[in-house]
Amino acid sequence: MDDFYRDFILDHYRNPRNHGHLERASASAEDVNPLCGDRIRMELDVRGGVIADVRFSGQGCAISQASASMLTESIKGMPLEEAAKLSKEIVLENVGIGISPTRMKCAMLGLRVLKSAAIGEIAGWPDEE
């Protein structure tokens, strides 16, 4: 696990890319890992079915935050349909070696939030009224 924290991970943790909020988000979602309290929000600007821009915010460990940061870089310009279908491979490829099973949930939090934003946007959320 200690070999997980390589320079580029620490860099994404300390200097997260696409961090903050969008002025105009067409889709968004937020979730928290109830067991550790890590929290991530994703906002998407979808144009013509493609993710034109993305921002994330939240708090948590280096794993959850760096994974989310890298994920935002991976999905810019990606068709929304494709984002909705992403598997965890994309995160594993991004972060590379060394993640222990106990921390897998941290790594996948950003992906889960992204997918629920994308799926919600495609399927339409039930009226909350």
């Binding site: 928290v32 109830p34 106990t102």
Partner: protein, 414 residues
């Protein structure tokens, strides 16, 4: 007809350390009280032991190695139980025992969904644990209780079932009677209860240890059972609930682990099954129950059932000659319609005296009302003696029971 596989039973017996210990009077332990609680095989005792000696840690939030292992084994045990009863893992909620499982439904479903015009249908066979909670819910909500009657043999009378089901909102019924062994024909009752729109809870405390039970095939909303009667440890039980109905229910106990987010003034709740598991779970015993389920699977539930049927047939055969001397056996006398329970009285020997005399011979049976007082009163029995069978019992155990009865007859100068 008797075709007990003695070699297999001997192998089973060797798995239960308590059966190798003689009593203080030097007698072989003849354990005929498995309906109260079963004995435990080495694999179960060892699973608990191993947790404490090798990886004891609190679960779900632990990052370190032993905490991760504890979490994995705890959730794996849930998955084993889910597979055993053919349910989804989120539908398996850990409780202390069948009683707590039924009370969970009484509080979280009953108090929410029952009102003054509603009827709870149950049966005259019920254990107190599936009767008293509904009496209290009825008192609190104004709902009324109705009973499917039992006949003299302890079988339910289903002629008037359609009428009984009219206006019923909840059917809360046992699967197997702990006092008489009666197997309730759920396959005849449940479809009608469904058609009548009732929610269905089954008390499976005496069924799960002895019969192959499949939640999807049974089509119940709730099913409750205890680990300690199915070779597992004390302190762990299960509420099975259909996902949709569990999702719609408010939580029961509140505290750590069952929450999603907590602020000083309000909280939101975790996903199933954890929404119903507040505080630190009984980790060791859940893992122990997982081991018990695996052990039962290794025996095969078909074998468990047929072994008990054969023993029961043998017992009835051996007991029959005592009838003229005043032995009365209650319940269905048919191994096809009953689980391995023999409830009886012998002439004017009170059940407690019978149990004491048998104890001097190492034979362990239960005496009393078996937590079914209303049934006892209806039948006019102040107490019965009950011998109950399980995987480790043999014809020799039945023989020891018979010898004990002969001794009791001598002691009481019958």
């Amino acid at each position: 007809m008797i075709a007990i596989d003695d070699a297999k039973v001997q192998r089973v017996i060797a798995d239960f350390p308590i059966l190798a210990r003689p009593t203080s009077r030097g007698k072989r332990l003849v354990y005929l009280d498995s309906a109260a609680t079963s004995q435990k095989p080495n694999v179960v005792i060892d699973a608990i032991d191993r947790y404490y000696r090798e990886y004891n840690a609190n679960i779900h939030r632990g990052v370190y190695e032993i905490a991760a292992r504890a979490t994995d084994e705890f959730e794996a045990a849930r998955a084993k139980v889910a597979r055993f009863i053919n349910a989804a893992t989120q539908e398996v909620i850990w409780t202390r025992n069948a009683t707590e499982a039924i009370n969970l439904v009484a509080y979280s479903w009953g108090l929410q969904n029952l009102g003054p015009d509603d009827v709870i249908l149950t049966s005259e066979l019920e254990h107190h644990s599936n009767l008293v909670p509904w009496q209290l819910v009825a008192q609190k909500t104004g709902a009324s209780l109705r009973f499917i009657p039992a006949d003299d043999r302890g079988e339910l009378v289903l002629d008037r079932l359609d009428t009984l089901l009219e206006g019923v909102k909840l059917l809360a019924i046992t699967h197997v009677s702990n006092t008489l062994g009666t197997i309730v024909p759920l396959e005849r009752i449940i479809p009608k209860a469904r058609a009548a729109g009732a929610t269905i809870l089954v008390d499976g405390a005496q069924a799960i240890p002895h019969l192959a039970v499949d939640m999807r095939a049974l089509d119940v909303d709730f099913y409750a059972f205890s680990g300690h009667k199915m070779l597992g440890p004390t302190g762990i039980g299960v509420l099975y609930g259909k996902r949709a109905i569990l999702e719609a229910m408010p939580p029961f106990l509140a505290g750590g682990d069952m929450i999603r987010h907590v602020a000083y003034d309000r909280s939101s709740f975790n996903d199933l099954p954890w929404k119903f598991e507040a505080g630190t779970s009984n980790i060791a015993d859940a893992i122990g129950l997982g081991a018990a389920v695996e052990y039962l699977e290794s025996l095969g539930m078909d074998w468990v059932r047929s072994h008990e049927q054969e023993l029961l047939a043998y017992a009835f055969e051996r007991l029959a000659p005592l009838a003229p001397r005043g032995l009365a056996i209650y319940g269905p006398h048919d191994p096809e319609r009953a689980s391995g329970v023999i409830s009886f009285n012998f002439a004017d020997i009170h059940a407690h005296d019978m149990a004491s005399i048998l104890d001097t011979e190492g034979v362990c049976i239960r005496a009393g009302h078996h937590c079914t007082m209303p049934l006892m009163e209806k039948m006019g029995w102040s107490a019965t003696a009950r011998a109950s069978l399980y995987v480790y019992n043999t014809r020799a155990d039945v023989d020891a029971l018979i010898e004990g009865l002969e001794k009791a007859a001598r002691v009481f100068k019958l």
